[in-house]
Amino acid sequence: MASAFSATKFAAHPFNTISPTSQNKPLKIPTAASPFLGSTRKLLRLTSQLNLSRRSSGSVFAVSDVVKEKKPTPTPSLLITKGEGLVLYEDMVLGRAFEDMCAQMYYRGKMFGFVHLYNGQEAVSTGFIKLLKQQDSVVSTYRDHVHALSKGVPARAVMSELFGKTTGCCRGQGGSMHMFSSEHNVIGGFAFIGEGIPVATGAAFTSKYKREVLKEADCDHVTLAFFGDGTCNNGQFYECLNMAALWKLPIVFVVENNLWAIGMSHLRATSDPEIYKKGPAFGMPGVHVDGMDVLKVREVAKEAIARARRGEGPTLVECETYRFRGHSLADPDELRDPAEKAHYAARDPIAALKKYLIENNLSGEAELKAIDKKIDELLEDAVEFADESPLPPRSQLLENVFADPKGFGIGPDGRYRCEDPKFTEGTAHV
């Protein structure tokens, strides 16, 4: 297919990691190795076992190559305009500041239960979601606050939901892990990993059905399914890769590979840790991208989303990223190597974008600081709003179980049976 994915060459990221203390030499990845990063010794053992020559076929490759090819050194053509750059910056700062505020509120007792924060992964959410239209859908996991924010759910609504107040986006009935907004087409928020993938595939199915069966000619809505590395070992993931490719559904499967599933390293859990390779096995392109660089993510996302919109089917995009905090606020995060954390902290996506904007004269310190301040004020307002909002009233407990007010179903005239005042008498004689 003639697209940005035609390159099949594959190159490594040069990367030196500080080895674990028992091995006093730096780990060197062989040049033809995968750009997979991780700080454990196991990586070296694993890469030596990989049959690297297999990788020359198929449409999988590292986007870092593509991006480099697009930017010849003398006069770099920019990937974004100033306006776009500021939108991306603001969105990532909103995501980061919001999650930091969540941590603060949690330790002050305003938020409770399970809270999973997204710090460090903002480039993936911003890079993808800022390319979507209002009617496109996003399906996420329990780490869904920032996906909801990027898609346009107001910070006030998300914060109230986390506080469990009735003004939250789900009236306090969903919570941190179940963000739904039909207005913004954020359809969850699922606690079970892998659960959102079939639901996202169904949303993509609906888009195709509306166009082909219901003849809504302009329906080209795309769905993005976000999920992690641990999910890629789950059966539902493969079932949906199969069906999405089989029926050519307009979906992009976005893997946020942050290398850790709670305390389980991706390398310990997966027979072949290169997730993007699983795409071609099902007949769709598999792309690996540096998920700490919002511009690279955006380039890949543009092509994947455009592919889906054109009706060419699904794409599997693996974003290599990292979460700066633990799995959740209850996770002591003792198993991850501090050197690994330091390595990724140095590649903070927000700092990287800021540097790009300033170096390419798209913006200045002052303007960016003004955005930071604006976000801080927005969050102060959101917290205040959430604090002052009321708790759900008692009467709300039993509401919304069914869409049908009394559970008696719909009558032949198309109206709810309970609306007929004579209906509750007697039994169901016909």
Binding site: S182, F205, T206, G409
Partner: protein
């Protein structure tokens, strides 16, 4: 097969009983007979033709004409975009159905048997049943999950479980179980039109049974209310509640009991969730004795819930302990005689009714 011969007798006895039950309507003199299979097929056909958002999904529903031929002819009529043959991926295609329902389509997902729904139960419960609540009413899920439930004949432990009580314990689901063709048509049409997730539990052994239906039932706008039970036979001495195939057994048992001077009131539950507690309680207040019948495992079953409801609301009216007839508390055996012992039979219901009426009965000797 002995069991099937019994079904034929039930069909005829049902016809004989009609005059006693027709309280509100007089039926046209030439009542047509249709099988449950044809009733379901016609219901699907009519709902698909009325609403283009309705589509079918499941294994073998298309080219094979349905594993039990329920979806026969629908692929030819509506095309492969609306009748989808899926790969063997229950979790995947159930989730796809739920996602489609989130956006307003009306999928009818077929499980070849409800035993296979266990591979998809996460989606039925967590992404279908709970979504309207979790999203505070923003997202309703107008999906129907249908397929045969409960024991068939000689299919072994992994193909014979009844899932009524599992699904009926979950808020956010509607659980329906038809008995005859009228129930099958009316409840399936109501389920497809319904804005909430519906689990529709059919019975494989009833598919081939014919029942008389009136012209009203055959009308394309016909549908039955959800959450309302039907009194199939009125009586004054003991109430027998049942659903699906057991309704036929209960009706037959009522005939036998009548010869001994015990007039049983048989309630066809139709809707396991929401359960029609008011009909059951009104009946128990009239008869003062209750026998619950179901095919599934006894512990935490439908009968347990009905018994608790009656004890909570009508305790003073009970003249005898509630009798609970259920399947044996074992995985379904294969041998034909053991299988017969593991599923309630008509004489079990008769004995239980007599116990409830304090008549002495010989010990169980069925083999």
């Amino acid at each position: 097969m002995y069991a099937i011969a019994r079904q034929r007798i039930l069909g005829q006895s049902f016809q004989k009983m009609r005059p006693a039950v027709s309280v509100l309507r007089s039926y046209s003199s030439a009542a047509k007979q249709i099988t449950v299979r044809d009733a379901l097929n016609s219901a699907l056909d009519e709902e698909m033709s009325a609403d283009p958002k309705v589509f079918l999904m499941g294994e073998e529903v298309g080219e094979y004409q349905g594993a039990y031929k329920i979806t026969k002819g629908l692929l030819e009529k509506y095309g492969p975009e609306r009748v989808l043959d899926t790969p063997i991926t229950e979790a995947g295609f159930t989730g796809i159905g739920v996602g489609a329902a989130y956006y307003g389509l009306k999928p009818v997902v077929e499980f070849m048997t409800f035993n296979f729904s266990m591979q998809a139960i996460d989606h039925i419960i967590n992404s279908a049943a709970k979504s309207n609540y979790m999203s505070a009413g923003q997202i309703s899920v107008p999906i129907v999950f249908r397929g045969p439930n409960g024991a068939a004949a000689g299919v072994g432990a992994q193909h014979s479980q009844c899932y009524a009580s599992w699904y009926a314990s979950c808020p956010g689901l509607k659980v329906l179980s038809p008995y005859n063709s009228e129930d099958a048509r009316g409840l399936l049409k109501a389920a497809i039109r319904d804005p909430d997730p519906v689990v529709f539990l059919e019975n494989e052994l009833l598919y081939g049974e014919s029942f008389p239906v009136s012209d009203e039932v055959l009308d394309s706008s016909f549908c039955i209310p959800i959450g309302k039970a039907k009194i199939e036979r009125e009586g004054k001495d003991v109430t027998i509640t049942a659903f699906s195939k057991m309704v036929g057994y209960a009706l037959k048992a009522a005939e036998i009991l009548e010869k001994d001077g015990i007039y049983a009131e048989v309630i066809n539950l139709r809707s396991i969730r929401p359960l029609d507690r008011s009909t059951i309680n009104t009946s128990v207040r009239k008869t003062n004795r209750l026998v619950t019948v179901e095919e599934g495992f006894p512990q935490h079953g439908v009968g347990a819930e009905i018994c608790a409801s009656v004890v909570e609301e009508s305790f003073a009216y009970l003249d005898a302990p509630v009798e609970r007839i259920a399947g044996a508390d074992v995985p379904m055996p294969y041998a034909a005689n053991l299988e017969r012992m593991a599923v309630p039979q008509i004489e079990d219901i008769v004995r239980a009714a007599k116990r409830a009426c304090y008549r002495s009965v010989p010990l169980a000797a069925a083999a």
